[in-house]
């Protein structure tokens, strides 16, 4: 079976899910599960926990599809945000420690070339997307990439990052802001497409 890619998820599909359409939900799962599982695994770093979390997330998506507001963002952004938030909640509730500083720029880092992780079943457009995101991250200075990873995947505030890196708070805030702004420019064509 050719695996579906989450390049574009229509808000209509979410609307169908909101009306209890299980087929629509199944399709929504096919389009998003790899991405959400990858994200959850990145944050939790434990396969069993990741599967458990994803069950909770998808049940919540099923129950709260009616709450989705297309004016506030794309469906994929909504689901990614929900998954990240639940995963970080779980990390905090279990008191797991950070591991990113020791793993930064290794095989699991954001800046890793994504071509090695791309499946042959993925669409050409999706591979292009992953390559574009990987390139956008690669051109970021290491320090910007690191603070982005600590905030996004570890859920640390700028002050916590500053404490951990022994850097001024203002410096950390500037790095995060610059990183996000650069990514926005690099990926603009994709997120405008997503939010259509």
């Amino acid at each position: 079976m050719r695996r579906q890619t989450p390049l574009i998820i229509s808000p209509d599909l979410v609307a169908q899910v909101a009306h209890g359409d299980r087929d629509a939900f199944s399709r929504l799962y096919d389009l998003s599960s790899s991405l959400l599982f990858t994200l959850a695994k990145k944050i939790l770093n434990q396969p069993d926990e990741t599967s458990e979390l994803l069950q909770e997330v998808y049940v919540e998506i099923w129950q709260k599809a009616k709450l989705f507001d297309p004016n506030r963002g794309s469906p994929l952004s909504w689901m990614v945000t929900m998954t990240r938030s639940r995963a970080l909640d779980r990390v905090r509730s279990k008191g797991w420690k950070s591991r990113i500083l020791t793993e930064h720029l290794d095989d699991s880092s954001m800046a890793q070339p994504v071509t090695s992780g791309s499946s042959p079943q993925e669409s050409v457009e999706y591979r292009e997307l992953k390559e574009t995101v990987g390139n956008a991250l690669r051109v970021l200075p290491d320090e910007q990439c690191l603070v982005l990873e600590l905030s996004y995947y570890e859920g640390l505030s700028h002050r916590e990052i500053a404490d951990r890196l022994q850097e001024p708070v203002g410096t950390i805030k500037t790095r995060i802001r610059l990183a996000v702004m650069k990514l926005r420019e690099s990926l603009q064509s994709y997120w405008t497409q997503e939010s259509v």
Partner: protein, 333 residues
Amino acid sequence: MDHKHFEEMVALYAVGALEPLERQELENHLYAGCVVCPNLLKDYQETVSLLPHGLTTIEAPPHLKSQIMEKISKTVPQAVPEMANEKRSGLIGNTLRNFATPLFRPAFTLLIVFILAGTGFYALSLRSQLEGTIEQRQEMAEVLDETSAHVGVLRQKLAEQERVVSDLRDKQNRELAAVLALNEELKDQKAELEQLQTQLGEREEESAFLRRVLAQKDDVVRLLLSPDVVVVSLKGLEQSPGSAFLLFDAERKSGLFYSFGLPSLPRGKVYQLWAIVDKPVSVGTFGLDAGRKGRILIKNLTNFSRISKFAVSLEPEGGRPQPTGTIHLMGET
């Protein structure tokens, strides 16, 4: 607060890097109706939602979908009204959704009606209270304005009175300075007056002395001008080198004795002039001046026609009833 501050916060909000208070601050700003930041936040959230695409893809376990599908088969999507903000649903939203099942739907509808009616009544009550509060506030504002105006007038009066008091104080200070100056001047004048009084006393004494001298000179002049004056010469005896003369007006019973060249007087001694009738009668005592001259102004000397001689002797101070010392001068009438 500068809007740029919020714009800078949006990027950190999108990646979840704000502190709780900052997050609340930005959310308040977003809910307040900012037209810029929500779009900016949407852009950033779409951007960061693409970040997981940069990770090496990990396929979900095959059994996961069936497990999830089984779970959702036991539930239905929530039928709550569409809400713009998931966060704002919270506890109340969950409670309402629990009551929105078919079993509770009639009761739920009734509850909603009661709640809406109660809310409407409460809103009207609040509006009435608000109007009352606004009226009270307007009244208080008017009272405050009047009070402020009154305070302004009082302040003006106070300033005026302070100016008057200040002027009076200045005037008082000036007058006090003038009084002190007058006092000093008075002291000076008093001292000058005392000095003048002293000088006046001296002048009066001098004047009295001069009047006495003048009177003596008048007596002498009258004596010298009198046609009846008699002159008596006294000559020094052998042991005395002096001489003297005596002018006498018998009618006026007055005269003038004048001596020259008598020896200087020893301490405690005076010369004494005697008129000799039957026996010596004292006419008066005299001393000598720097020129060793001696004088006696004679008044009320009676029986001049019976006087045969005048003599001068050296006597103890104060004189004696009868001559006791050396006779220095002698003359016959």
